[in-house]
C-alpha cells in the first residue's frame, strides 16, 4: 500500500536488516537510572557515559539542583506562555543577565532550545534578497534556519577559508550577508580557523558573522566563552549562539550580541514568539550553572586533560580518529562501515561504556563513527577504564590489532 509513509520504506528496511543481525538498536537506548554526570544504569548495568556533551558535569551540581528545586516551588512547573506574552518570569530575565555577564555583551535572548536559537536567528535576520553563507558541515539547526527563512543560501567547503573568500567575492557587493560558522564542529570535534575566516569575511562589504559555540562554551577561552574567545576574534563576531544542553547541563538556547537594535528580535523572531518559554526551574538551573562556569578553571583543566589522554590512548591502540590531535572535548573514532560501527558500539556498551553512534547524513562525507564526548567529572580511573574497554572491544570486533 502506498501512502505518505512510503518514502521511508528504504530506511525502515535498512534498519530492520541491521536489527535482524541481532545487534541492539543504537538509537533506542534507555537510561534507567542516572547516578552522576558520568554514570548511568542501562539494562541493569552500570555504564560510563561517554556520549552526553555534559562537558562540565553541571547536571548534578548541588547549587544548580537546589536553584531548580526552589524555582519549582516558588514559580511552578511551567509558564504556559510565550516569552512575549505571559512567559517571561523574573528567572528568564536573570538568566539573560547571567549570559550578558558571562559573554560581556549588551544583549542576550533566551530561546526554548539551542535548535530554536539557530532557527530563529538565521531565519529572521537574513530575509529575502539577503544571503546566508554557511559551512557545508553545519549542524542541522543551521540548515533548518536557512530552510525556514527566505534568504539565498550559499555553502562553502568545510573549514575552507579560500572557499569562503571566493564565494563571498562572487556575491553582489551591495547585498547584506550573514556568515554562519561554528566554533567546534560536533561530528569530528574539529575547530574552525576563526581568525583566518574572520579576516576573509572582512575583505567583503556588508557581512555580519554569527558563530555557534554550542560545543565550545564552558572550556574554550579565558572566560569559557568559546573558540572565538580562545582564538581572539571577539570583536569581529556579531552574534554568538549557544545552548544550555551541553556545558550548562540543562536545556535551552540563546543568542548574545552587542548590536544596538538586537532587542527588536523579540518581536519578529518566530521561533522565539510562537512557542512556550522554558519552565522556571530550567532557567534557574541555567542561570546558576552559567555563573558557576565563570569560575570553573579547575574543571576546564581536568576536561582538557581527559580529552588529550583519551585521544592519545586511542591513537596509540591504532584507532583512526577524526582529528590529528585533541582539538575539543569530542573524540571521533572513524570506522569503515555501518556493521563494524554498530558491533563496536555494542561491544563497548556490553563492557559498560556508552558512546554515540553517528551515521550519514549527520556525518561528513558518508562516514560512520563513534563519537566520544568527555566530561570534566570523568575521573582518571574512569578514563583508564574507558581506554581498556576500547582496547577489548576493538580487538573483539577486529578493528585494531
Amino acid at each position: 500500500m502506498t501512502d505518505l509513509f512510503s518514502k521511508f520504506d528504504a530506511l525502515i528496511a535498512e534498519r530492520q536488516a541491521l536489527l535482524d543481525t541481532g545487534v541492539r538498536d543504537p538509537f533506542a537506548i534507555v537510561m534507567d537510572e542516572v547516578k552522576s554526570p558520568t554514570l548511568a544504569i542501562i539494562q541493569g548495568k552500570p555504564t560510563i557515559l561517554l556520549g552526553t556533551y555534559n562537558y562540565m558535569g553541571m547536571t548534578f551540581d548541588p547549587d544548580v539542583v537546589a536553584a531548580g528545586k526552589k524555582a519549582l516551588d516558588d514559580f511552578g512547573a511551567g509558564t504556559t506562555g510565550s516569552r512575549v506574552l505571559n512567559g517571561t518570569y523574573q528567572g528568564h530575565k536573570e538568566c539573560e543577565e547571567a549570559l550578558k555577564e558571562f559573554y560581556g555583551t549588551e544583549h542576550a535572548m533566551v530561546f526554548s532550545t539551542g535548535y530554536q536559537a539557530n532557527l530563529g536567528m538565521i531565519s529572521t535576520i537574513a530575509g529575502k534578497g539577503d544571503y546566508v553563507i554557511l559551512d557545508a558541515d553545519s549542524h542541522a539547526s543551521i540548515y533548518d534556519g536557512c530552510a525556514l527563512g527566505n534568504a539565498e543560501i550559499v555553502r562553502f567547503r568545510h573549514n575552507s577559508v579560500e572557499d569562503l573568500d571566493k564565494r563571498l567575492g562572487r556575491l553582489p557587493a551591495d547585498a547584506q550577508k550573514l556568515v554562519v560558522l561554528e566554533g567546534v564542529y560536533s561530528m569530528l570535534g574539529d575547530i574552525a580557523p576563526l581568525p583566518e575566516m574572520v579576516a576573509a569575511v572582512r575583505k567583503h562589504p556588508n557581512c555580519m558573522i554569527l558563530v555557534d559555540e554550542a560545543h565550545g562554551m564552558g572550556f574554550f577561552g579565558p572566560n569559557g566563552r568559546g573558540v572565538y574567545e580562545e582564538l581572539g576574534v571577539e570583536k569581529d563576531i556579531d552574534f554568538v549562539v549557544g545552548t544550555f544542553s551541553k556545558s550548562v547541563g540543562t536545556v535551552g538556547g540563546f543568542c548574545v550580541s552587542n548590536h544596538p537594535k538586537f532587542e527588536v528580535l523579540r518581536l519578529v523572531c518566530r521561533p522565539y514568539v510562537f512557542t512556550a518559554s522554558l519552565p522556571p526551574s530550567v532557567v534557574a538551573t541555567a542561570a546558576t550553572s552559567i555563573r558557576k562556569l565563570m569560575h570553573a578553571g579547575d574543571k576546564r583543566t581536568h576536561l582538557w586533560k581527559n580529552s588529550k589522554r583519551l585521544h592519545a590512548g586511542l591513537r596509540e591502540m591504532g584507532f583512526t580518529l577524526g582529528t590529528e590531535t585533541a582539538q575539543s572535548a569530542i573524540i571521533a573514532v572513524m570506522l569503515p562501515d555501518q556493521e563494524i560501527t554498530v558491533r563496536m558500539w555494542q561491544a563497548l556498551l556490553e563492557l559498560g561504556v556508552y558512546v554515540n553512534m553517528a551515521r550519514p547524513p549527520a556525518t561528513p562525507a558518508g562516514t560512520f563513527l563513534l563519537r566520544c564526548s568527555l566530561c570534566a567529572e570523568h575521573s582518571d580511573e574512569q578514563v583508564g577504564d574507558i581506554l581498556e574497554r576500547f582496547r577489548a572491544a576493538g580487538q573483539a570486533v577486529g578493528c585494531i590489532g
Partner: protein, 80 residues
C-alpha cells in the same frame, strides 16, 4: 561548438569524477535518480562547477535543478 554545447561539455567533464556508475550523460540525465548522488556528492559537485565557471549556484537554485540540461541552462544564465 555553440556556447551551450561548450557549457554542456564542461559540465559533463565536471560530472565525470562523481559518475561512479559510468552513466551516459544526456540533457535528461537526473542527478538524484540516474546518477544516484546523495546530498554530500551534490555539495562537492556544485562547489566544483561553481569554481569552474566562477559563479554561485545557491541552494535555493539547486533545489530546482534535477537534470543535467537544467544545470547547463542555469550555468548559461548565471554567466550571462
Amino acid at each position: 561548438m555553440s556556447n551551450r554545447d561548450e557549457t554542456f561539455a564542461k559540465v559533463a567533464e565536471a560530472i565525470e569524477p562523481f559518475n561512479k556508475k559510468g552513466i551516459d550523460l544526456t540533457e535528461a540525465t537526473t542527478f538524484a535518480g540516474d546518477l544516484e548522488w546523495d546530498s554530500l556528492t551534490v555539495m562537492d559537485f556544485v562547489a566544483a562547477v561553481e569554481d569552474e565557471f566562477d559563479i554561485i549556484i545557491t541552494m535555493n537554485m539547486q533545489a530546482e535543478i534535477e537534470t543535467v540540461g537544467q544545470l547547463v541552462d542555469a550555468v548559461e544564465k548565471l554567466r550571462a
